[in-house]
Subunit: 350 residues, 2 copies
Amino acid sequence: MSADAEPAPVSAKPPVTLREVAAAAGVSVATASKALNGQGRMTAETRERIRETARLLGFRPNSLAQSLLRKRSFTVGLLTNDTYGRFSLPLMAGVSDALVDNGVSVFLCNVEDDTRLGQLHVEAMLDKRVDGIIATGKRIDRHLPVDLSNLRVPVVYAFTQPDPGAVGLVSDDAGGARLAVEHFVRLGRRRIAHISGPESFAVVHARAQAYRDVLEEHGLPTAEPLLGAWSEAWGHEAVARLFGKAGRVGWPDAVFCGNDQIARGVIDALRERGIRVPDDVGVIGFDNWEIVAEATRPPLTSVDMNLSTLGREAGLALLSLVGGQPAAPGIRKLPCRLVVRQSCGRPPGG
Amino acid sequence: MSADAEPAPVSAKPPVTLREVAAAAGVSVATASKALNGQGRMTAETRERIRETARLLGFRPNSLAQSLLRKRSFTVGLLTNDTYGRFSLPLMAGVSDALVDNGVSVFLCNVEDDTRLGQLHVEAMLDKRVDGIIATGKRIDRHLPVDLSNLRVPVVYAFTQPDPGAVGLVSDDAGGARLAVEHFVRLGRRRIAHISGPESFAVVHARAQAYRDVLEEHGLPTAEPLLGAWSEAWGHEAVARLFGKAGRVGWPDAVFCGNDQIARGVIDALRERGIRVPDDVGVIGFDNWEIVAEATRPPLTSVDMNLSTLGREAGLALLSLVGGQPAAPGIRKLPCRLVVRQSCGRPPGG
DNA sequence: GCGGTAAGGGAAAACCTTTTCCCAACTCAG
DNA sequence: CTGAGTTGGGAAAAGGTTTTCCCTTACCGC
């Protein structure tokens, strides 16, 4: 209203302290503290008067001082060696969301593949008295380059290889692969191929095994998965191998791909050969990387690892650990989800 | 060596305090503090003895207590609107790197487009006594949904619209566009088209203007830029418009695209029409999104905004502000860089 | 009017470190 | 031997909050 109104609380030069609030309200700091925290005994009027004074002065408690005394800082560290890869991103968002809802801030620490850097970050976080640490990475089957096994704060591993005896959360790759292959089976596809990434990845084997299992369960012919790279180019090349022989006899009528980029290469290669998707061949990808899945023609059905849910769960798990609840150690696998777009066609009866 | 060796410093249950170090070394905490910080006067032996004791005990000073006393927490907040978009990612990596090198930790805060959430985060950061804040977003021409204009800590804006009078760093989009178009000119291309994103983006206009300027400077025919969406599909459609008319007369021999996805659509559409890249038409993209630029056939020449450098500069700018150095307010534009791959061909003389 | 109890509020320790000021002892010149 | 200056080191306050324990006052029943 008037020009000399109170400035916005947050803009004051030196932050107002509890002592000042107490002085302004005519009480001791002890009483002021108790009034604001709902502790201690005092008349309702006193409590309200102190609260009002604090509000007017724009008092905000100094977290540093609070953390020093209580043994919690409401701060956790997020350690990753994949800052900014497309997997850890949704995961980090999930972690961050879960924690922020509980008033916890997140230190972001990118350790690359550098043990020294990792050690540095962990020590810095410990010095800053984080309540716990979440470790995440770019590969589910690799350790971070840093030892987190004997810290004095709880640690949760998400989408990275956990230490033995620790709490770990990963996606259920086999389950995700089942989702895809069973979808094909339900649609009446009979000759289902699998094109995947490099042999060195654990997920490649997990998914391939699930692929074989499902086919076997349905008495369908099983072909050896084609393993290569996580690239479009490999998708092209694999198509050349699968669809190279003359005559359509023996051609697959469905291809389950290890990731969306391979799937994109497959779809493009099929189109170049005049093979129609989904009419002649259905295609399913993995990762549900929207920017890719939505740009293929037709848009790609893909397995989503629910990474942001994974991150959220990791955040909550850490929180309960911090709160003293013992969590069952071991690896918990979270389900994937099939996002159906248009690269598989409709069921025969549909 | 032996089984009863000291445990790893970091694994001790209650952290070792300065008091314990002092007691173990037989001095006062004051002396211990001074010994470890290189302050005060004492014999070299005393100092060394205290240091050795601290090392042996695995002493690490409590950052909380330090921060409370000094007025710095060696912590900054990174506020973003685009957690995990592909622009803010390299940017955040740059920020983080620059700061970590200086012993500063980064709070990651995702505010989405939610003013309430933003306010919440800013207050939490202020409570935790961050030394400064870096604001970044997904669009250079939009404000974050939160007011950072009157904080008691310095703020640096990177890749987002700064408040008036603040320090802002952005990419030089016009310069980047010049790089692309001049490259075409140098290669002898004469009929250069421009396909870009939605009109509502400031960068679209900046780049389009630079495009016109360069053509005019070289006396080349200038066509109205085609504005649409940031998608592959739009790249396809734009090609249909530009190359739809029968006969090659009047067809462009170069296309400068507003981003890499458009460029990808353009390249694919050209190939489908039997138009060769780069022989018949050169293509340049924007953003240098490697995963796209390297998957096009041929690989895409693209303008890189050097976002991680931008982030690094933002981090350093904030640091000097925190250190009390007055920084020139206003927007500083950082140069782009052309990453040459194979979608433009070689110069005529080459 | 008195003893007991409950209510309201304050003093002070604690968290851990840094820094200022001070003191004791030693050295050295005169 | 005395006074000044230097050296080595400690006591204590400061930073902002929480919490335990204690004190004062008021009220109640008898």
